[in-house]
């Protein structure tokens, strides 16, 4: 999705602006990759020494912090170096912390209408990362070898439906790739535990790839220009 399909009103456009460079997706995706990849690796090598186990634990905690706590701060830091010098800075109408309190968040996207412009970050955390986390549970519950294909297909469908009217809709071909990855991973014959974490890993890789593709397009479309600033006339 390019800039040309941005929403029309300034408020909605400002909210969608958070996703213009793909950086939030890259950051969240990297966190999920570290979390899922670390967990799959842990299950494969099954370490007995405590230092190794503690290292995995720390990696897991840091990944969780990146995904849930520091996503916004890291994205903002990256945006200050990549996005703001290219296309400027705008703050959407309402900060996400305030929105998180509202119960409307629970019905996001399900009502079919366009979500309010101020639900960009909250929406992203609930309906993108949340869906991938749900896929993890599903992959751990459904018996092998159908866990991953069912979980990833379900996640792909949900991501497409929940986001179709949002500031960041996903293309049907992109979510099809996510579902296909679930079927591909079935061939690896992983254990039930590994399956569950592999869902996070696949979701993370998919999300980071979506972000990276978007970032590439954004950087190509918007070469860094000379500093433009306000001068009193």
């Amino acid at each position: 999705m390019g800039e040309q399909s941005f929403p029309e009103t300034p408020g909605r456009r400002a909210a969608a602006y958070w996703f213009i460079d793909g950086l939030p997706e890259v950051v969240a995706g990297a966190g999920l990759v570290a979390l899922g990849g670390g967990a799959v690796w842990f299950h494969q090598i099954k370490p007995y020494s405590w230092p190794v186990r503690v290292t995995f634990l720390v990696l897991g905690l840091v990944s969780l912090m990146v995904v849930f706590g520091l996503n916004r701060s890291i994205s903002l830091w990256l945006k200050s170096h990549v996005t703001f010098p290219r296309t400027g800075y705008v703050r959407p109408p309402c900060e996400w912390e305030e929105v998180a309190e509202k119960e409307t968040v629970l019905t996001l996207g399900l009502e079919g209408g366009a979500p309010p412009p101020d639900q960009n970050v909250t929406r992203f955390r609930i309906s993108t990362i949340g869906v991938i986390i749900c896929a993890q549970f599903l992959a751990g519950v459904v018996p092998n070898p159908f866990g991953l294909p069912i979980a990833m297909s379900g996640a792909a469908m949900l991501l497409y439906l929940l986001h179709r009217n949002s500031e960041r809709p996903y293309h049907w071909a992109a979510v099809l790739l996510l579902a296909a990855a679930g079927f591909g991973a079935m061939l690896l014959r992983m254990s039930q535990d590994e399956n569950s974490w592999a869902a996070i890993l696949i979701g993370g890789v998919w999300l980071a790839a979506q972000g990276a593709w978007r970032l590439l397009g954004y950087v190509r479309r918007n070469p860094r220009s000379g500093a433009v600033d306000f001068q009193r006339q």
Binding site: P10, G11, A14
Partner: protein
């Protein structure tokens, strides 16, 4: 009818300019935006936008402050309460002026 047309002269001249109206309408829908973002959204040249922002700031309709995001200096503009009120009044005046008299009868 004449009275309504005469009301045109009562319009706020700071706002009654397409570029400045565009800036105010845009800022009304966001919390704040920086110079570069406004420039891209409105398709203004640097000097043009600078001039309009100065006029709006002098009228007290917007607040301009310099800040940093990381190492990047940003000139951030925000609509003031006075600016919002003036914009609302302007919109009401325009609506009253262009209202079809036959409909209100």
């Amino acid at each position: 009818m004449n009275e309504r047309i005469r009301d045109i002269s009562q319009l706020d001249r700071v706002i009654h300019e397409p570029a400045r109206l565009q800036i105010l309408m845009f800022l009304r829908e966001v919390e704040e935006a920086d110079f570069l973002y406004l420039q891209r959204e409105g398709g203004f040249s640097t000097g043009n936008l600078s001039g309009h922002l100065s006029k709006l700031e002098d009228a007290g309709y917007i607040r301009i402050r310099k800040m940093f995001k990381g190492k990047m200096p940003l000139t951030v503009c925000r609509l003031t309460a006075g600016g919002e009120k003036a914009l609302r009044t302007y919109c009401e005046q325009i609506a009253a002026i262009v209202q079809d008299p036959r409909k209100s009868e």
